[in-house]
């Protein structure tokens, strides 16, 4: 019967649910007398008389300490094995309570640490090294004594004492998996000793930080005979709810009282005034808070269950993405949608892994709801499960969807009478929509001062859900990663985009640089177009090539000048560009205007030609044509032909030059484009390497 302390701890702690469940279950329910006699015959130096109620309570507590409630992580949420003790089987004398659980229970008694040490010593656990049933019972008795104000002595336990009271301890697994939207009012609460050591981090931290000894809260040690007591209370708001003050505890009608067959009336008398910040106080606060229950709120131990309101919301979201409810949401669509939730990509990736069971890259309605639910849970701070909970399985959800929303059959599966207190809550619940109910959480929980963090959480949930659809820009990091990642892909979808980009760009060539580029200098453009070429605007035709000065002066020049009008008219726009050349020409231009009328003005006409050839057409040039009509008509007839011919020749020359220039420029453009494409290719090849 004796086991080493290590073994004791090992059995209770490591073995966990399975062994723990089997131990009490396997042991036949010993008669109360037998157990009490066993207690008396144990190592306790003092025979320990236990009343019936005490016996029941102690055995229940012992059973609870023996078996660790399972963290329904991967296996969904089976009722905790402790619930096996529904029929109040008594653990046999061979069972030992886990040291951790007992320690937690002792702490839950909210006695000073010194007192607890005394108790531990007195009960003999320290001596034997483990908490056997006898030691456990003695310890409980001593706790009761201490709580009643009696000194912790062996003698004090001989008398009739009220049941020890323990602050409700929360099962860490519940803390882990409860969902804000899944708040279920606390049903009759059994002091769950926190047995999970690998529980939610924050819970652990919170517990360790808050191991203050607080006075006894409202009694929790409801008799085990009530089956409803075994409902696990989900930690709806987790650690955030701790801050509920004592007043809440007092004010809140403790639900367990309704169900609890608490025989002792000392529950009210044991209220210590210290506000406690223990997480375990949440259980009472939860009952008080009256969080709006989902329609199937009778599933207290299942934070992964999708409630009706949630389901409706998810379905609506699905419709917004994909009108056909029986069809799929593609992966990219879902990705964009879920990215708005601002979870990190790895987490979203993991959620996708969990929810896309058929791994087809698309989400059906059940899969989508499961994914959405996981995202909501994650946003509320709960760790993601290792595997998809059973209630989120697509087949399960599929059947659930088929049922009517208010199918009470779902509710009946859980035998839990609705506490009377919850009925007003129900009304509130029914009224609310899936989102609004969260905002209305504060309304029903009027008795309880909701924790700021909780409020923040609610608001965050409020914001999270409605904003899921809003065009929230993803976090810059997400945006950058999203944008950066397509680039990192090696020739996937983005290759098309890039190809398109490349295609788009050639049609819009960059603006041509000024004509002062070096390449054209290789041409005879400079000679052709005179030094005013840099000043020429792109797109404008350069002035016609300079005509060789003609020895003869004929009115053909005049006619040619006429022909050159359309070309010259453009040059006036360039007049402003050149300053000094204009000035030079001005003195020349004006005299030539008059001699134009004359036949023989070679100098003038040469000047005119020079002037005309220059890009900087002077403002007086336009005046030239006006003067021309004054020329005698007779001489113009013959001259006109020659002028026309020369003009034609000049135009052809000009065309040739321009065509050559055009081809040259086109060639340059092609080369530049090719260079660009080559560079882009190089860049593309280099990019994947930079990802590493």
């Amino acid at each position: 019967m004796e086991q080493g302390p290590a073994a004791a701890v090992g059995t209770a702690g490591a073995v966990g649910a399975a062994a723990g469940a089997s131990a009490p279950a396997a042991v036949a329910a010993a008669a109360a007398g037998a157990s009490s006699s066993g207690v008396s015959a144990g190592y306790c130096p003092v025979p320990l008389p236990l009343s019936d109620s005490e016996q029941q309570c102690y055995s229940e507590l012992f059973a609870r300490c023996c078996c660790a409630p399972a963290t329904s992580s991967s296996s969904g949420h089976p009722p905790p094995p402790a619930e096996v003790g529904r029929g109040a089987p008594l653990p046999g004398p061979a069972a030992t309570a886990g040291a951790n659980q007992v320690a937690d229970l002792l702490r839950a008694s909210q006695l000073p640490a010194e007192t607890l040490h005394q108790i531990t010593e007195l009960c003999g656990a320290k001596r034997v090294g483990y908490f056997g049933p006898t030691q456990f019972y003695v310890a409980l008795k001593l706790i009761a004594a201490a709580q009643s104000g009696l000194p912790v002595q062996v003698e004090s336990i001989k008398c009739e004492l009220p049941l020890p009271q323990f602050m409700a301890l929360k099962n860490d697994s519940e803390i882990r998996y409860s969902n804000t939207t899944e708040l279920h009012g606390m049903k009759c609460q059994i002091p769950y000793v926190t047995m999970e050591k690998n529980s939610f981090k924050r819970v652990d931290d919170g517990e360790k930080q808050q191991e203050k000894i607080s006075p006894v809260m409202s009694p929790v040690s409801s008799p085990p005979s009530s089956p409803s007591n075994y409902q696990r209370v989900p930690l709806t708001y987790g650690y955030g709810k701790l801050r509920s003050g004592m007043d809440q505890m007092h004010a809140a009608p403790y639900e367990t009282r309704q169900h609890a067959l608490q025989q002792e009336g000392s529950t009210s008398g044991s209220h210590g005034p210290k506000p406690t910040r223990r997480q375990t106080s949440l259980i009472q606060s939860l009952s008080v808070e009256r969080e709006p229950q989902e329609s199937n709120s009778n599933y207290p131990d299942d934070p992964w269950r999708i409630t009706e309101e949630q389901r409706e919301y998810y379905i609506n979201q699905f419709k917004s993405l994909q009108p056909d409810l029986s069809s799929f949401i593609s992966g990219s669509l879902a990705k964009n949608f879920f990215t708005k939730s601002k979870l990190t990509i790895p987490e979203l990736s993991y959620i996708w892994e969990l929810s896309d069971v058929d791994c087809d890259g698309a989400l059906t309605l059940p899969e989508f709801c499961a994914a959405f639910h996981l995202i909501v849970a994650r946003k509320n701070g709960y760790p993601l499960p290792e595997s998809l909970p059973q209630t989120l399985q697509p087949d399960y959800l599929q059947t659930a969807f088929l049922k009517s929303k208010w199918d009470c059959a779902l509710f009946d599966s859980y035998s839990e009478p609705m506490p009377v207190n919850q009925q007003p809550r129900d009304l509130n619940r029914i009224e609310k929509s899936s989102i609004k109910e969260k905002t209305d959480l504060t309304a029903p929980a009027q008795d309880v001062t909701i924790d700021d963090k909780q409020a923040l959480k609610i608001s965050s949930v409020d914001e999270a859900m409605p904003k899921d659809l809003s065009v929230d820009t993803a976090t810059p990091k997400d945006l950058n990663t999203l944008k950066a990642r397509p680039r990192s892909r090696s020739y996937s979808n983005t290759s098309l985009e890039e190809a398109m980009k490349r295609v788009e760009e050639p049609p819009t060539p960059p603006p041509r640089p000024q004509k002062s580029h070096s390449r054209t200098s290789s041409l005879d453009l400079n000679k052709v177009f005179q030094p005013n070429a840099p000043a020429a605007k792109p797109g404008l035709l350069p002035p016609p090539p300079a005509l060789p000065p003609r020895p003869f002066v004929s009115q053909t020049d005049q006619v040619s000048e006429i022909e050159l009008h359309p070309q010259l008219t453009r040059t006036p726009s360039q007049t402003e560009e050149s300053g000094s050349p204009v000035k030079k020409d001005l003195p020349h231009s004006q005299p030539p205007s008059k001699p134009i009328r004359r036949k023989f003005r070679p100098e003038n006409q040469v000047m005119e030609n020079q002037e005309l050839s220059s890009v900087t057409g002077t403002s007086s040039v336009p005046t030239v044509p006006t003067v021309k009509p004054h020329a005698p008509v007779q001489k113009q007839s013959s001259k006109q032909k020659k002028a026309i011919q020369t003009a034609i020749r000049k135009n052809k020359e000009a065309n040739a030059v321009l065509a050559r220039l055009n081809s040259e420029l086109q060639q340059q453009l092609k080369e530049v484009h090719q260079e660009r494409i080559a560079l882009e290719n190089q860049l593309e090849q280099l990019r994947p390497v930079t990802v590493l």
Binding site: K335, F338, W352, E353, R485, S488
Partner: protein, 169 residues
Amino acid sequence: MAVCIAVIAKENYPLYIRSIPAEQELKFHYTVHTSLDVVDEKVSAMGKALVDQRELYLGLLYPTEDYKVYLLMPNGVSYKCKKLLIPCVKSMFPNQLHRYGYVTNSKVKFVMVVDSSNTALRDNEIRSMFRKLHNSYTDVMCNPFYNPGDRIHSRAFDNMVTSMMVQVC
């Protein structure tokens, strides 16, 4: 039975490497890297004309040191697992590592290093393992939040690889 499993991307950088024991990971990095040359050699040997008929399983690359190296190149998204048959070189040294290879059309390669000291794995077993790897890899690719070219962090993939490697030990 694998001692090391690696997924190499098209550009020959690792997407996923896992080895048992973990402290020899660097050594396996080298091993896998050197095997990539053999992979390319085999792939190029097949020629472009055989792309359609080319199978993915490359078989035993070469025995070096203590391990056999198997190479697998999964075919991107397609489920057409074509295997590339290459005669396996019998190891002349016992207790060697053998590497096996498997290449897919998208040039993603799986390399598996096996301890030959274990019961001699039949070729079919290696192929089945590669098939599982390939399927898991495609599942990872199906995840829209996974960008090709990223390291693989999928838990499902990890679990599958662990199961394969645990068999060995």
